[in-house]
């Protein structure tokens, strides 16, 4: 009895400590409880939760679809199935695990499947769908609206998973399609205007892999060969009719005809070789991974309209190829001189070389006006060496320290030539090379103050002598601390994180300060009551030197500082009450509020969920969730505020 009570309490803690999910499927429910039914030599556990979801949206529905996207209709909200052989000697399989979510019509759907027979094979499948909608108002005044679906799948088969020689084969696919808007700058790259385009997104990625592992002399050698193929065949068109200039009311430009085809087809062959061992006094592992990359492309763009200088009739043809070679080697060596001390050294060398040719031909009003061959090369060589030591001083106290050195070289060539006869120019291959070095050190400790109370503190400080961009880490430090209390029915933690970076040069200065505070508390007070509370405050302030041109009638150079200050307060509350065995009630409330002052907004999502058992195998569920999004300062041309009432009702069959 005591054991049952204890298990129930542990389960309750687990349920109450869940993050606030979306309102459905029914969370906190032990989907596929341990009952199960025996069928021959197998045990079967399954649950199915069909239901109906609804939503009622007020305000900016586009923003709602971008953030939340739940709609109306019937779905299989969740399902779960396990079949296990009871003696580990099934005929065709020993285990099947299948779980699904949102199948039918949800914007986020997924399914995973594992089938395995002990010692013979293991097969894993993953399938996911994400319906993506973004009105693009905040980033492009709506010119880059997207309404696409992306589907992923992956299949992985391992033969003889428990033997000393294993074989792997796999296949992955990632496909994205759907309508979208795009835009194009035409007729003058500096002063030309922006026109909206219709595009039909068509992207597809396929990968194949085969490999093998061998355990020999205490080492494991793994070799994997993979082939990846990518293609994008997204066409762009005007969509019909004459289009006036974009967000510039006084510009007389028009676009009367436009068409662009820009297929890209590429492949990425790759290798992975690893060698590992883990002994009593040391562990060694090495990895070599290589990816090639080759994209072939053609672009054909025809545009007719009126530009700043009159009638425009332009044809652009571009073709060429881009190549990348990325090779990486790693070596890890860990030694354990005593049981209390671990010292690990890691050396990594990465070399990436990207280059390609792009032939550009521009014909204006049937006259060849530009004939350019572009060549670009980008090379990144990165050498990293880290040494970490961890010493366990006592059973209650241990500390660690580490040092990292990085040497990076970035080389680039950007070159342009006119290949047209009779005066063909040659490339001016000016190589730009620069290096930077990073020295970073870290130190930390873990202290078990009293049995349930644990403190973790770590800090890092780093210096980069030549960062690549003005916002990169140059002179930085980070602190991360956490105090955690964990008992059978109570868990609580509080912490503080800080990250300061100062990257300054003579003309401008960039600094960033982030300070995060958090605390959470979970308490399974009774078998029928549990509560979960959390609060985080995320502060970020940055100041970056900027230069830009502005003014009327003539733009002049301005210098200034871009200041961004964000103070985000995020709180969550969840409480679960079980009314004997007659009902299970959950309420939750999430609020995320940025008090700015740069861009204040408020996002709140309260929810409630009720489960009523009808029979031991059947439960009725209902839930409601409200989403309220409120901007106080508009980034888009309009405030994108919305509120949405969403909910669901479902039946959960468990066998």
């Amino acid at each position: 009895m005591k054991r049952t009570l204890l298990l129930s309490l542990i389960a309750l803690i687990a349920m109450a400590a869940r993050a606030q999910d979306t309102v459905a499927p029914t969370t906190g429910e032990t989907v596929g409880s341990a009952r199960g039914e025996n069928a021959g030599d197998y045990n079967i556990v399954q649950s199915w939760e069909p239901g109906y979801r609804y939503s009622l949206v007020g305000g900016d529905e586009g923003k709602y679809r971008s953030d939340v996207n739940y709609g109306n209709g019937v779905r299989l909200l969740a399902s779960y199935l396990t079949v296990n052989s009871r003696d580990g000697h099934g005929h065709w399989f020993d285990e099947i695990v299948l779980s699904t979510q949102g199948l039918g019509n949800d914007p986020y759907e997924s399914a995973t499947l594992r089938v395995q027979k002990n010692g013979l094979y293991r097969y894993d499948m993953m399938w996911r769908l994400n319906d993506y909608f973004n009105p693009g108002l905040a980033t492009s005044d709506g010119l880059h609206l997207e309404n696409t679906s992306q589907r992923w799948q992956d299949h992985d088969l391992t033969l003889f998973p428990q033997s000393h020689f294993r074989f792997h084969a796999g296949y992955g696919r990632n496909k994205e399609d759907g309508p979208a808007l795009s835009s194009v700058n035409l007729f003058d790259s500096q002063r030309g205007d922006v026109f909206s385009l219709f595009s039909n997104v068509r992207r597809e990625y396929n990968s194949y892999r085969v490999g093998a592992d061998a355990d020999m002399f205490g080492f494991r050698l793994s070799v994997l060969r993979r082939w990846e193929f990518y293609k994008e065949d997204t066409p762009y068109s005007l969509g019909g009719g004459i289009q006036l200039a974009g967000p510039n009311g006084v510009d007389p430009s028009t676009l009367t005809a436009f068409n662009r085809s820009a297929p890209i087809h590429g492949s990425t062959p790759g290798w992975l070789v690893t060698l590992l061992t883990d002994r009593k006094r040391y562990a060694v592992n090495g990895r070599f991974t290589y990816s090639g990359g080759d994209n072939n492309f053609v672009l054909n763009e025809a545009a007719v309209g009126t530009g700043l200088t009159g009638t425009e009739n332009r044809l652009i043809i571009t073709y060429g190829d881009a190549k990348r070679v990325a090779a990486t080697g790693d070596l890890n060596l860990s030694v354990f001189p005593t049981e209390r001390l671990t010292i690990t050294n890691n050396t990594s060398v990465d070399n990436t070389r990207i280059g390609g040719n792009s032939f550009y031909e521009e014909i204006d009003l049937a006259t060849l006006s530009a004939d350019i061959l572009n060549f670009q090369f980008l090379g990144i060589r990165l050498i990293t060496n880290s040494t970490d030591a961890h010493f366990r001083a006592t059973k209650k106290f241990d500390f660690f320290t580490g040092f990292r050195f990085v040497d990076r070289e970035i080389r680039s060539i950007q070159s342009t030539a006119d290949p047209s006869p009779p005066v063909a120019t040659s490339f001016a291959n000016t190589l730009n090379a620069q290096t930077d070095h990073v020295y970073a050190g870290a130190v930390g400790m873990n202290w078990l103050i009293a049995a349930p109370l644990r403190l973790h503190v770590e800090a890092e400080i780093g210096r980069n002598d030549n960062p690549f961009t003005p916002i990169d880490e140059k002179n930085y430090h980070a602190i991360d601390s956490r105090l955690q209390y964990r008992r059978k029915t109570v868990t609580a933690s509080a912490g503080y994180k800080q990250m300061y970076n100062n990257n300054s040069v003579t003309l401008t200065a960039y600094s960033a300060h982030s300070r995060d505070y958090f605390g959470n508390f979970s308490w399974a007070a009774r078998e029928w009551f549990a509560v979960d509370l959390g609060y985080s405050r995320l502060h970020l302030d940055t100041a970056g030197g900027i230069v830009f041109f502005t003014g009327s009638p003539r733009a002049t150079l301005q210098t200034g500082t871009s200041i961004y200050v964000s103070n985000i307060h995020a709180a969550n509350l969840g409480a679960r009450v079980a009314l004997r065995k007659r009902a299970d009630f959950y309420i939750g409330y999430n609020i995320t509020r940025d008090t700015g002052p740069t861009f204040p907004l408020n996002f709140a999502t309260p929810l409630a969920r009720l489960t009523i058992p009808i029979t031991p195998k059947l439960k009725w569920n209902a839930g409601y969730q409200y989403y309220g999004y409120h901007e106080f300062v508009a980034v888009a041309p309009v405030l994108e505020n919305y509120h949405a009432h969403t909910g669901y009702t479902s039946l959960l069959f468990s066998f």
């Binding site: 428990q162 881009a322 770590e458 780093g462 956490r482 985000i568 740069t598």
Partner: protein
């Protein structure tokens, strides 16, 4: 179903008694153990006593049986063991996997977050990987600020269940990032294709799903390759559209494109905007309206098409 007796006399060399003996007092643990992945070692019948069944993890039980129970008589009682001991025990069998190649130097190991902190062998909530809780809840237990980020209006769909933390992170530690120089980013996986496992490739994990940003491109936007996607985006969640680091697009761009210092691909400052880009004109405020191929282009050095 159940466990075979180890030997006719019930006691073997080294104090191993066999799991069938354990079953006598611990039926709650052994009843459903055939569903546990660790049951494979029992079912095979080929493993030696110290590598199978209850004693494979908990050590020889003769003393525990003789004492008629008690946690302190179990050689390897995980709730009483130090974190490092837990790690060593599990790695006895689980070390030789490339996804765990960096576990000895991982941030989790440094913080005394070891196998039993996240995995529950006897009471898992997920049959795959035997996690003590659903993955995101497990991670949120310590990473409360990350939880706050995933509850922002613009975020990757972790709470909605379509992706998981381990799609981008390897909680067992990773090799040094090839797109960054600092000790951070931490435990961000290195990807090749979607779902292709962990540590298989040498590119930033984002390209697992965002394949169109992978290239190669003739004209690379160099920071994407040199410093990674986080140069412009918050990866977990953001209050800003497209997970951008700033709500207004041109401020994202201008903080780098100021022509100052020795930054950028030529080492002489990241090129500033043209004098023709008068910011009073709204068309120049959303830079990506013209520079549509900002992640990289094959046709235009200025990413216009």
């Amino acid at each position: 179903m159940g466990f075979p007796a180890l030997a006719a006399d019930g006691v073997s060399v080294g104090g191993y008694v066999g799991s069938a003996v354990c079953q006598t007092c611990h039926p709650d643990v052994t009843l459903n153990f055939y569903k546990n992945p660790h049951y494979k070692s029992v079912a095979s019948g080929k493993e030696t006593a110290e590598r199978t069944g209850c004693e494979g993890c908990h050590g020889p039980a003769a003393a525990h049986v003789a004492a008629r129970g008690g946690k302190t008589t179990i050689p390897h009682a995980f709730s009483l063991m130090k974190p490092a001991e837990v790690l060593d025990d599990c790695l006895t069998c689980h070390a030789k996997d490339v996804s765990r190649a960096n576990i000895r130097r991982s941030v989790h190991t440094d913080a005394d977050v070891v196998c039993s902190t996240c995995h529950s062998i006897h009471k898992p909530q997920t049959p795959k990987y035997l996690l003590a809780k659903v993955q995101k809840d497990l991670c949120y237990e310590c990473h409360q600020t990350v939880r706050a980020q995933f509850e922002m209006p613009v975020k990757h769909r972790v709470n909605e269940g379509v992706i998981e933390c381990s799609d981008c992170h390897n909680p067992h530690g990773t090799f040094a990032a090839t797109w960054s120089t600092g000790i951070r980013p931490r435990m961000v996986d290195e990807a090749s294709g979607p779902g292709a496992g962990q540590n298989l490739g040498n590119e930033e994990t984002c390209i697992k799903c965002h394949q169109d940003k992978r290239g190669p491109f003739v004209f690379e936007h160099a920071p994407v390759r040199v410093d990674g996607c986080e140069s412009c985006h918050f990866p977990h969640g953001s209050m800003n559209s497209k997970l951008l680091r700033r709500p207004v697009v041109y401020t994202v761009c201008l903080e780098c494109h100021n022509g100052a210092g020795t930054f950028g691909i030529t080492g002489s400052g990241v090129i500033a905007t043209s004098s023709a880009h008068n910011l009073l004109d709204p068309r120049f405020r959303n830079c990506t309206n013209c520079h549509v191929r900002i992640h990289g282009s094959n046709a235009d050095p200025n990413f216009l098409r």
